[in-house]
Amino acid sequence: MRHSRGAQRVRGPVSSAAVLLGLLGAGAIGVLAPQRLACAVDTTQLPDPALQARYSGLTHELRCMQCQNEAIADSPVDLAADLRREVRDMLLAGKSDDDVRNFMAARYGDFILFRPRFLLRTAWLWLAPGVLLLVGAFVSWRIVRARTALVSQDNAPLEEDVSR
C-alpha cells in the first residue's frame, strides 16, 4: 500500500468508513433493484399519470399470496395479474387507495398488506421501535452518567497530588 506516514495513522477509521459506505451502497442496490424489474412483469398503463402513480404504489404494497415475499407488481403469477387488474379497475372506477386496501384485506387478510394497518393487534409493531429507542436512550444516559461520576472520582486524588 502506498500510504504516507501521516495517512497510516488514520488508516483504521478510513477503511472502516469505506466498508460502511460499501455496505450502504450494496443495501441501496438491493432496495432499488426490484423496482426496476417491475416494468418487465407489469406493463399496465393508466390514462392519467396521477392514477398511474397510485396504481404503482398500491401494486407495490400488496403481497402476492402465492409467492409470498413478492409484491403483486413484481410477480409473474396468474393470481397477481388478476389482483393487478382488480386494482386498476377499482382506481378507474374512482375508488380511493384505502378502498383498495380494505377490499384486499377483507378477502385475503391483513397478511396481503406489506404495510400493516394500525390496529390494536398491530400497535406493538408500530410502537416497538419508538419504545426501544427510548429504552436505549435511557440505558445509554445511565451508562454515561455512571462513567462521568467515575472519571471525577478518579481525577480528584490525582489533582490533589499534582497541586501538592
Binding site: 409470498q68 396468474d78 393470481l79 388478476d82 382488480e86 384485506a105 378477502r107 385475503y108 387478510g109 397478511f111
Partner: protein
C-alpha cells in the same frame, strides 16, 4: 445479580416474541382466512355441465355445502380427486365446485375421465369470484353452513384426515338430528 437481571429479562422477552412469531408464521401452512365466521361471498356464475343455467350463492342458501376450488391445470387437484369422489359416496354434504380460470372443454373431459364428484360446478373464467373468496392456491375447500356462513377453510388437497377431523365433526350435529 442485579447486573444480569436486565439483559436476561430482555433476552427472555425476545425468546417469547420470536417463539410467538414462529408459531404463528404463515409460511408454516395456511393463512387465516378473514372469511371464517363471515357470510360466503355472493356469486352468480354459469353452470359447467349446463351453460344455460346459473349457479348462485342465493340458490345454495339453507343447506350445508362444501365449496371446492379446482382447475384442470392444478396438479394437487388431481391428487385430491379420489377423496372428493369419496365425499360424494358418503353423501353427507353436497359438493359445489368452482372451476377456476380453466378451459370448459378440458374441465368437462376431466370430469368424464376421473368421475364427477360435484353436485354442481360453477365456472369462474375471469377469476373474479375466486378473489372474492380469497383464493390464492387451488385446491381450496370451504365449508358453508345453512345460514350461508363460512365455518371452515382448508388450503391444499382434501385428505381423509381433514375430512374426519375438521369437516365431519362440524356436520355431526346435523347428522345426529337426522338419524
Amino acid at each position: 445479580m442485579n447486573r444480569f437481571a436486565l439483559p436476561v429479562g430482555v433476552f427472555g422477552l425476545l425468546v417469547v416474541v420470536l417463539a410467538i412469531g414462529i408459531k404463528h408464521s404463515p409460511n408454516k401452512g395456511t393463512i387465516m382466512s378473514p372469511l371464517l365466521g363471515k357470510p360466503a361471498p355472493q356469486f352468480s356464475l354459469p353452470n359447467l355441465t349446463d351453460p344455460a343455467r346459473v349457479v348462485s350463492s342465493a340458490g345454495l342458501k339453507g343447506r350445508w355445502y362444501l365449496f371446492n376450488v379446482w382447475g384442470t391445470w392444478c396438479g394437487e387437484c388431481r391428487a385430491e380427486h379420489e377423496m372428493l369422489l369419496e365425499v360424494r359416496r358418503a353423501a353427507v354434504v353436497p359438493l359445489v365446485g368452482l372451476d377456476w380460470k380453466d378451459d370448459d372443454a378440458q374441465a368437462l373431459s376431466w370430469l368424464a375421465q376421473l368421475g364427477n364428484p360435484y353436485d354442481v360446478v360453477a365456472v369462474d373464467r375471469s377469476g373474479r369470484t375466486a378473489i372474492d373468496w380469497g383464493v390464492y392456491g387451488a385446491p381450496e375447500t370451504f365449508l358453508v353452513n345453512p345460514q350461508g356462513i363460512v365455518v371452515f377453510k382448508h388450503v391444499g388437497a382434501l385428505t381423509p384426515d381433514v375430512w374426519t377431523r375438521d369437516i365431519l365433526p362440524r356436520l355431526a350435529p346435523r347428522a345426529a338430528a337426522k338419524s
